[in-house]
Symmetry: C2
Subunit: 475 residues, 2 copies
């Protein structure tokens, strides 16, 4: 269909003011925030209701127009921009951003898919509750995108992935049918669990338009420490011990390599090194509790650390005693992505292995890199409690510029690392998802029966391949 | 196919000694433990490996033989016995009962589907860990059945349903293909979540043959109290407060009506009333912690209760100060099912509503019963923290014997109650599942789009309707 006709049809579906077709206004929707993936589209459509989404999908499905869904456009694997075809539409949920109902007694909140994550967090706090999903992009990412990618972040060690926080969903299917599965029940064994089929499907099976989410009591006490270790094995051993000692209170357990730590301190404004001597590995620990005081929780943590210190497993430790000190420690962690972009060309590998295998992975990956890519630096930051490492291979900008076949280098390097993770029962995509970037790995690393099952489900729910085509699954 | 030929074929699949075809040995597999549902089968097949299960399913699927899966046969809705056809097989997983690997450092255990739940709990304790799933039938139910029905129980308030404890699955599909999805990763965003499609599918989409499960640190401290209330509204108000005050420690929050409490005390051996004056509503509370002592945790609980007591919300409270006292309080709760069977004919309704609506449900259901079934007694026991009530309508044996059209009475009564739950955003099946009994409610209470989606998934994965036919979904 011609672009003009598509735009006209979309205006009929959602109203003229909510369809954007000019190049200037569309531009920032067509490229990802790291400027690594881009595409084109006939227009960007901003529906305001589930009925409008239904009309858009029914029309597109019936007329062979592909639909690329977009939330806050914070994907790191090309999952939030359209492809190069141009005669498709980009469906952005930003104007469906109402908090429909927050019920503190029920510990639940029902929201439209375009709600910014930080707005949901704030609404929960205002009701003396907590919505535990927290991640770097929380100021701009939309909950619909979080749900569609089963987003992770720093609280997973205690509260699980986004999947674990979703009680109910409203979804528009490829043909425009609306599944109203919004509910806040904690138990409901009445047939197949469709909810988890759409969570993490990256918009390839339908559009999540609203969700009912779990809330938790708001913590009133926090304790934060940054620990230094001689090697990664000591760091992981201590992390496992912390998980066993504080299974309910441990809400954050982040690991940072010396290389990453130094890059963050070098490029991020207003950071300073809390250690006199920078350790080889750094672990950031946060405890939270819903009773008692931060002072008492910090005392508990300090008592515990004293024991580990005497055993000699910890090399150095900094305990935050004020809110400012706590913020300063987290600032180093939260600055890594922006700092890495300034440092060079970092190729990120979002792997996971069982937590206790992290030291083996780091050792084997380091050896492989030294052998095959001697001029690169391994830079590691990860959610240790979930076995999830962002293993970043850092090329200097000059080095990267000299590489002639960049896609090939990227593919070969990543398979070198993914092979190691796979050998440990691990995965090549822990929390970032597949998007456009990791489709080849789906064929290479997944069980063929599993991929065939996924393809048959895609074909069942979207037989005309309308939704986010060529994403997630190999043909 | 003739019975003899089916038996012969099954012997070729699994070996002669693992096929049982004579009526005497088959008898207890063909009727449920409450003697309410029964069926017939050509034989009972006991595979010893995933390859044998694969062979059995491939043969049955190719030859039009229906397969009814069975675990510990503890279903309460006719989900674990075959239908009346007779030319089908019953596939019992009892001989696949190995604990394949327990890894304490990884907090995971991988087991075959026929493992008895209590054996898994014990293996976890032996490794200084805990597998939190706990329910009345734990001494005989199999984990494959727990997974296939997404079993609930008394720990859900803290650790979630079985679904939340499953890290990975091995499943044999209707056509005999094996999906090897066994893994222990906490994060894995690589395509659709097939795992949750099979959890709770009640064996209609394939046979779960093995699972990787989450373990937790073993608690070293417990505190238990039984509270008495004047009315259900006060009981729920206090329960919500307890959840907010002890969100990490609260592992059990059970509610019992006076009628149920008295039935349990009347019929169960070695129970005694801990209260001087029996309250209208009883709440059993258990806290657990992985540090500190039971004495300290009990002190915390007692301090808290003193406050509630002074506010006048709690009428009476008994705090266990020894392990024996704790066991005595739980004994009353655990005796309800057997006691109800002695008391009369109890029709159980496994409903859930948002927790804070429990008082409304109890009030409205009580009024409806008094109006339409004046000679019955409402008997209530439930997992209050999850909004899940087992709302039992008790007929005396004599009264029940006089009712001419029992199925019709059962259906009309249940729809009276389910209508009330549905009006509060609730469900007619919280944790027991659908089985054969609740298929009519799937059409009546579920969103038609949702049922159509489920039917299309069933048709995709089991196009010849080999697996557990006429269970879960209406035709």
């Amino acid at each position: 269909m011609e672009t003009e006709k598509i735009v006209e049809a979309m205006r009929e579906c959602v109203g003229a003011t909510d369809v954007v077709g000019n190049a200037v206004e569309m531009a920032h929707h067509l490229i990802d925030w790291r400027k690594r993936h881009s595409g084109v589209a006939a227009c960007v459509v901003f529906p305001r209701s589930v009925e409008q989404v239904s009309r858009v999908l029914a029309f597109c499905n019936a007329n062979g127009i592909k639909v690329f869904p977009q939330g806050g456009n914070t994907s790191v694997c090309g999952g939030s921009v359209p492809d190069a075809n141009g005669s498709s539409i980009l469906l952005n949920l930003a104007k469906m951003n109402r908090i429909v109902e927050l019920n503190a007694a029920d510990n639940s909140v029902t929201v439209e898919a375009g709600c910014i994550l930080a707005d949901i967090q704030q609404a929960a706090l205002d009701a003396d509750r907590m919505f535990p999903l927290t991640l770097g992009a929380e100021g701009s990412c939309q909950i619909g995108g979080n749900i569609s990618t089963n987003a992770g972040g720093t609280n997973v060690v205690r509260f699980g992935n986004t999947r674990d926080l979703v009680l109910g969903l409203q979804v528009v299917l490829a043909d425009g049918r609306i599944w109203n599965g919004l509910r806040t029940l904690r138990k409901n064994n009445s047939g197949y669990d469709l909810r988890n089929l759409f969570v993490g499907a990256e918009g390839t099976l339908g559009i999540v338009t609203a969700a009912s989410l779990k809330l938790y009591p708001r913590p009133c006490a926090k304790a934060t420490t940054m620990l230094g270790f001689h090697d990664v094995r000591a760091a992981v051993t201590e992390g496992v011990k912390l998980q066993a000692r504080f299974p309910s209170e441990l809400v954050g357990l982040e690991v940072i390599s010396r290389s990453e730590f130094e890059i963050s301190l070098k490029h991020a404004a207003k950071t300073r090194n809390p250690f006199e001597k920078t350790p080889e590995w750094v672990v950031l620990v946060e405890l939270a509790a819903t009773s008692g005081s931060s002072e008492a929780l910090t005392d508990q943590l300090t008592d515990y650390l004293r024991g580990s210190f005497e055993e000699g497993t910890i090399q150095d430790a900094v305990v935050a005693s004020t809110e400012q000190q706590r913020a300063d420690l987290w600032k180093i962690r939260h600055s890594v992505t922006e700092s890495n972009m300034k440092e060079g060309m970092g190729l990120t590998h979002d792997i996971a292995v069982p937590t206790y295998r992290i030291p083996d992975f780091v050792e084997q990956a380091g050896e492989a890199l030294a052998r095959h890519y001697p001029d690169t630096v391994p830079v590691v930051v990860g959610h240790m409690g979930d076995g999830n490492l962002h293993y970043i291979v850092m090329f200097s900008h000059e080095h990267w510029a000299r590489i002639s076949d960049k896609p090939r280098t990227q593919l070969e390097l990543s398979h070198l690392l993914y092979d190691i993770a796979a050998g440990m029962g691990g995965t090549f995509s822990a929390e970032h998802g597949i998007g456009a970037l990791h489709v080849p790995e789906m064929s290479k690393y997944k069980d063929p029966v599993e991929v065939a099952l996924m393809q048959s489900i895609k074909n069942l729910l979207d037989p005309l391949d309308t939704m986010n085509p060529r994403r997630v699954l190999p043909k």
